[in-house]
Symmetry: C2
Subunit: 159 residues, 2 copies
DNA sequence: GGGTATTTGATACAAAGTATCATTAAGCGG
DNA sequence: CCGCTTAATGATACTTTGTATCAAATACCC
């Protein structure tokens, strides 16, 4: 079987896939074709995709993908920290800062769908503090801020 | 038709329903039997319920409830700010601070399901600031912190 | 109590996510 | 490169969550 499917030679994508390989190796986990494909798809989409949108994009290359298999790959990639789920839009996005294991926040434009991943120290500290104050040992923090991005506010009228 | 179904005379519940009535009146919106029932159910559950759990609790009293009607009531109550949706658990909970129109955060215990609603100034300020820094005019903020509450950490072993 | 706009009921459907178990393949050791 | 073993996938069916549509009912104003 040919080795390079149609891997658009985006350097960012290459780097991300290499990183994925190293992560898997380091943790003794298997890097399968589908896991690679899911991450690639999310990266080249350049936006958040629902699991079923993702499935559609995988189908042309891999006709045997199913919802279950896509969700399994997504779960795997989320456990590695290279993919995040956006709870408020029920969609998935490739992580932009996979090097740092910090907590992230998402800003979502309700007009254009753009998602910006942030890593704000102030928010991280404040949430940790709140958890402590209320006696919670936190292990997951969903911070998703929705609004209208600068571009969308400028260009279109109020609509 | 009898006026008092089985309204357990919890003072908190009474107050909440009165507040709902005032809110509706003030906004010229209709307060229907189902909307009252949905809020009552959520309040007396004392925890977050999925839309379908809620439906089951309504059915004995109101056999004609359907998913659509429950979601419609929930949407209405959320627009008034007296109910919130927990995105990370796909469930709904009655608001504890409906007087103040501030942004709230939720702490969710993954062991016992307890949900604490907080209103942390520090987090509110930090998220607003982040939005400004990145050029977003925010209109919705989902902050859901999941972990293990004090009680659950103390009582059960690590499990 | 009557009129009217809003809400609900009924039905059907779409979208999102999971369980199970037989089959396949990733990655190791030789 | 080859087989071995374990982990992952494929296939299928199903559960949960959420919506569209339109006729019938009802909350609220007068």
């Amino acid at each position: 079987m040919a080795k390079s499917h149609k891997t658009l030679r985006t350097p960012g994508l290459e780097r991300a896939l290499d990183r994925l390989e190293h992560l898997c190796r380091a943790r003794g986990q298997r890097l399968t074709r589908q896991r690679r494909a899911v991450l690639s798809s999310l990266l080249s989409a350049g936006r958040a995709l629902s699991a079923y949108e993702l499935l559609e994009r995988l189908r042309p290359e891999d006709a045997k993908s199913t919802p279950a298999s896509v969700y399994r790959s997504l779960d795997f990639l989320m456990a590695l920290g290279v993919v995040h789920r956006l709870e408020s839009t029920r969609s998935f996005i490739a992580c932009e800062h996979p090097e740092t294991p910090h907590w992230v926040q998402f800003l979502i434009c309700r007009r254009c769908g753009q998602v910006v991943e942030a890593e704000d120290e102030r928010i991280a500290a404040a949430t940790e503090r709140l958890g402590q104050r209320l006696g919670f040992a936190l292990d997951q923090r969903v911070v998703e801020l929705t609004g209208v991005c600068e571009g969308c506010r400028g260009s279109a009228a109020r609509h």
